[in-house]
Symmetry: C2
Subunit: 220 residues, 2 copies
């Protein structure tokens, strides 16, 4: 386990825990670690998700089969990351995708019941888990809102409008995401996003200074 | 409190609890109930969300102000419903909207710390809460996936493809949502959705029989 603790510590839900605390947590809960070699099928669509699954090593892709039998790649996930966390506690907990190892992979499993017992004995961990789910949920919600707009320019405006309301309608907004995260939120590449930010600045709509946006004549 | 217990019992997170169990839960936790008359401003954008907020009576709308000072209605929420549950445990917990009463409203508040203590003493309630967040998260994720397709026909096909993979690729699928929920998922009206289902049936792509879809020659 010892050699995995450092990787686990990189997960958002464990970021406030020291190495000693993590050793203690994993000393008090049943878990298993399984290894899968590159190319192998790890989980199959239709399986029930009954375990917290933490990808601690390697990289996976998730795939669906379409009605023509063709394979569609859905997502690529790098370690360390929690897999399928929204499904774990849902009633409808059937995996909609196949999960395949694209590198040698190690996954740590904790059975749902054991996880709940762990949460009941460790308030900080429960809070951390709720924070993690809450933030992922919020990100997807923001993405859904932003995606109802088609151009990058509209997406930026909508995102800034959201900040404007959250931050008490100041003339200087603070962007809380990195450019990488913003590009992911908008579903566009970083260079395209940077280009549109520059265009909008040139038009005098706002001044962008690091994570600060000074509003000038931005309208929606 | 007694008169609110029946309404609270209608919430998804309390659906597995008897009236006696709910009375016990609310006998063991600090909460407050505030009333707001029709038309009043309940919460302002920029406020921190530090309480579980349960709308137990009435109806609210959420609004944003755009850069032109114009008011945009974001959402309309009917009781009973949990408000802003994704924000409660997030680090970024600033409310992005104003919340206004469009009918006389009663809201029950439980402070975050008290809620966590409640969860630690009541495993069933913790599970129920996690299930509720998990399902809302899953719904938004599904909505995001489906919304990347423009026509209702494409949305239906994508939704069925998801079920096809979840349900072990059978020739007969079971739809797990009501027509109302499906229409909400797709962001379309119920009549439009029914019409497209009929068209696709007439073209012999599938046979729809209640919640069963018998696949014929559906391709994507």
């Amino acid at each position: 386990m010892d050699n995995y603790i450092d990787r686990l510590g990189k997960l958002k839900i464990f970021k406030n825990f020291s190495k000693a605390e993590l050793m203690k947590i994993f000393g008090n809960v049943r878990y298993s670690i399984k290894k899968f070699s590159k190319g192998s099928l790890i989980h199959t669509s239709g399986e029930k998700v009954e375990n917290l699954m933490i990808l601690i090593e390697g990289e996976v892709i998730t795939e669906m089969v379409d009605f023509n039998g063709k394979i569609l790649e859905v997502e690529r996930i790098k370690s360390p990351e929690i897999l399928a966390s929204a499904l774990l506690f849902s009633k409808d907990n059937l995996l909609p995708v196949d999960v395949l190892a694209v590198k040698d992979v190690a996954i740590l499993y904790i059975e749902k019941g054991d996880l709940i017992r762990l949460f009941q004995g460790n308030k900080a961990l429960l809070l951390s888990f709720l924070e993690d789910i809450g933030e992922k949920f919020q990100f997807v919600t923001a993405k859904l809102r932003v995606n109802s707009f088609h151009t990058i320019r509209e997406k930026i405006t909508m995102y800034l409008l959201n900040l404007y309301n959250q931050q008490n309608k100041p003339s200087e907004l603070t962007i809380t995401l990195t450019l990488e995260e913003l590009a992911n939120l908008f579903g566009v590449t970083r260079p395209s996003l940077s280009r549109v930010f520059s265009e909008m600045q040139k038009e005098g709509l706002f001044v962008k200074n690091g994570d600060k946006i000074i509003l000038k004549k931005l309208k929606n």
